[in-house]
């Protein structure tokens, strides 16, 4: 079985919700849609207070190349547009919509029929993906149309579909592969057409044998696509790790996957592409796993963007008493929510409720130079060294030590026997180095 060679950890999988079929969550009373739920420039609202909107209607326009359109997830009346706390607690502009009925745009095909081969060329697919506001659904929310626009002078050779889902607890991609396998494959073909490549590989870790066998069977009818079983290792879902595992090519430091001829998309994105192209449906709902160790019921929901997180937890049987932390995303890369009154965004892959016994940080002790962080770093960095540079605010030296290669997978903090906040200082360094780079280019 293939895997990436350098570093990696294997946290307990805890994929409790892998057996729960995808359920459609009832519509909330009102939704809150943040204008910045993708990487890049925030979208600009094109509706005003009091406007009637339908599900799928464009409500905020992308501003610039790296930005994405936002569509209304529900039908109803725009209540207000004002700043509201997002998942970090800071107030960012958002559109509030009061739900009324469930009327979709007429252009959207709501039938469950599978449409296989839409007659579109590469440019048409790319513009439509851009128009439909599709972003990377693995969690990074990078606008997808940017990723499939191959820069001049470069050539894509292989498309990799990321079905790894290496984060513990999360099962949304797993369920999607089981239930929407055919659709994912059609979406993959559309992405291949857009990129003009004739080879696609779906990477899945071996802890999802049902998804592997299901997709392999379906792939028999799609000769260009094959499924690759990968050894279970975190952070295999990282773009660079997945490329290395599947193709053996290494993306050089500071470069992009396209430089080695590879493009990686998440299975969720492939499904969204399928819906956008064949059904004309913009990205306004996604699969969210709601799980936790002490939860009696776990679930995978099909949720409209903007639904309050509290409704998801309520629908799954409420918050267990011993909850210490509610995490937006997986326990490794996710972010603890400082307040629960926040909406689901395009990047919310899961809501994990951690019991209080597991949610506290360990006491920070001195570095004992055991070098475990070095050996688990999948990017070959030296986290202990980066942390001491960060403490001393030596940003130039951090840049020299390739801090910008860090993808914040958290393996170093996870493995540190002294419980040192390695990633916190590395992240601080990344922000500061980013500022340095920007001020230099000015």
């Amino acid at each position: 079985m293939k895997t990436f060679p350098k570093g990696g950890v294997h946290p307990p999988e805890n994929k409790k919700a892998s057996g729960s079929a995808i359920e459609v969550l009832p519509l909330p009373k009102s939704v809150r849609i943040h204008l910045s739920q993708h990487l890049g420039a925030p979208a600009e609202p094109i509706v005003a207070k009091g406007d009637m909107v339908k599900a799928g209607q464009l409500i905020a326009k992308s501003t610039g190349f790296i930005s994405a359109n936002i569509h209304s997830p529900v039908s109803g009346i725009v209540q207000k547009i004002e700043p509201a706390p997002d998942s970090s607690g800071y107030k960012r502009p958002a559109i509030f919509i009061d739900v009324q009925g469930d009327e979709w745009m007429e252009t959207i095909d709501r039938s469950p029929n599978l449409i296989k081969f839409p007659d579109l060329n590469s440019e048409e697919i790319i513009t439509r993906i851009g128009r439909m506001g599709i972003v990377g659904l693995g969690g990074a929310t990078f606008p997808s149309h940017v990723k499939i626009t191959v820069p001049k002078g470069k050539k894509a050779e292989i498309l990799i579909i990321n079905g790894v889902e290496c984060e513990p607890y999360l099962t949304s991609d797993h369920r999607l592969m089981l239930e929407k396998g055919e659709e994912i494959l059609v979406g993959t073909q559309l992405l291949m057409k857009a990129l003009r490549v004739n080879k696609a590989v779906i990477g899945i870790e071996s802890n999802k044998p049902d998804a592997i066998s299901h997709l392999s069977t379906l792939c028999a009818r799609y000769p260009d696509i094959r499924v690759e079983t990968l050894q279970v290792k975190y952070p295999q879902g990282g773009e660079k790790q997945l490329i290395k595992a599947i193709t053996g090519r290494e993306v050089p430091s500071g470069r992009l996957p396209i430089d080695v001829g590879a493009v990686v998309h998440n299975v969720g994105t492939a499904f969204a592409v399928y819906e956008a192209i064949t059904k004309n449906k913009p990205l306004f709902e996604r699969i969210v796993t709601v799980t936790g160790k002490s939860m009696e019921r776990t679930a995978n929901y099909l949720v409209r963007i903007g639904t309050p997180v509290t409704e998801l937890i309520e629908a799954t049987g409420g918050m267990p008493e011993d909850t210490g932390k509610v995490i937006n995303g997986g326990p490794m890369m996710g972010q603890a929510l400082p307040l629960l009154d926040v909406p689901v965004t395009k990047g919310t892959s899961g809501i994990v409720l951690m019991p209080v016994t597991e949610s506290n940080r360990r006491t920070t002790m001195n570095c004992i130079r055991c070098s475990r962080c070095n050996s688990v770093c999948a990017m070959g960095l030296e986290p202990y060294f980066l942390m001491s540079l960060g403490e001393a605010k030596r940003w130039d030296d951090m840049e020299q030590a390739r801090v910008m290669d860090c993808m914040e997978c958290g393996s170093c903090s996870y493995t540190c026997p002294s419980g040192r906040p390695l990633l916190d200082y590395i992240r601080l360094g990344k922000n500061s180095v980013n500022r340095l780079i920007r001020s230099r280019s000015k």
Partner: protein, 288 residues
């Protein structure tokens, strides 16, 4: 015996030869340094705090000597007296600045704003503010992790263990501005120093609308504009739902302090008020 003599002679020859070579090299590579730099450095406080914007006191001295006029240069630690000494040493004219002091514009102690979450990661404000808005409902207020205390070279800021907020010791503060740069929430402000260290300022930076601010913290500025109406000197302005008292226009009359409904305007180092005085002010407002 012979060995001892030879050793002494050869070592002395090597020694004097090396000495001579070093002397020649020192002459050849002598760096001329303006002697005035040393003069200026001698009158500088030697704190190397970086408050002037240059790397240490020597860096500042070099720039003072190089610069044509001293207009853009100011040592906050030495203050006006220090600048006069520098100007004397260089034969230039010094600018005078009103002395300032750092103030902490947040009064959100645990009594006033409840903790909504618990933060237990790296205890620096810089990291915490990058992760989330803070462990209380107020996303503007002090995080209480003490980045300002750490950067202060003069031991002038301390954490109050009861309020969990930093406090400035006016006598020690040199207004070097290190804390202003360190605070990710821009809570610290350098304000004009007044007689007997008296000061009146809005101790809040919350830019939410009144209701939201009040809900988050009971001593937040709710932008009710009562202070603006009360002030006879046009010293108070409201921007982004937050009042600001212009330290230049303010005459320290204290009228705004007693009318503030949320007690977000602080008066510090004033003698206690007489009860009657407060009542007259309040009745005057009500009459208007």
């Amino acid at each position: 015996m012979n060995t001892v003599v030879i050793t002494i002679i050869s070592l002395s020859v090597i020694g004097s030869l090396s000495g001579f070579i070093l002397f020649l090299i020192a002459r050849k590579f002598k760096v001329f340094e303006d002697p005035r730099i040393d003069d200026v450095e001698a009158v500088l406080p030697g704190a190397n705090c970086g408050g002037c914007g240059y790397p240490g006191c020597r860096g500042f001295a070099e720039n003072c000597v190089k610069a044509e006029s001293l207009d853009a240069l100011f040592c906050p630690v030495g203050g006006n007296d220090g600048m006069v000494k520098i100007a004397e040493a260089l034969g230039k004219v010094a600018v005078t600045k009103d002395p300032t002091v750092a103030v902490i514009r947040c009064s959100g102690s645990p009594d006033h704003r409840t903790r909504t979450t618990r933060y237990d990661s790296a205890a620096t404000c810089e990291i915490a503010s990058g992760l989330f808005s803070g462990d209380t409902a107020c996303s503007y207020g002090c995080l209480g992790l003490g980045d300002c205390v750490v950067v202060c070279t003069f031991d002038a800021i301390h954490m109050n263990p009861v309020t969990l907020l930093p406090e400035v010791i006016d006598e020690k503060c040199t207004s070097c501005g290190a804390c202003v740069k360190a605070c990710p929430k821009t809570i610290v402000e350098l304000r004009k120093k007044s007689k007997k260290d008296r000061k009146i300022f809005v101790s809040c930076v919350n830019q939410d609308k009144g209701a939201a601010a009040k809900k988050a913290c009971s001593v937040a500025c709710i932008a009710c504009k009562v202070c603006v109406k009360t002030c006879e000197f046009d010293a108070i302005t409201i921007e982004n739902f937050l009042a600001y008292i212009d330290p230049v226009k303010c005459t320290l009359c204290r009228k705004c302090v007693s009318v503030c409904p949320t007690d977000s305007i602080l008066e510090i180092n004033f003698p206690p008020r007489k009860v009657a005085e407060v009542e007259t002010v309040v009745s005057e407002i009500q009459a208007n």
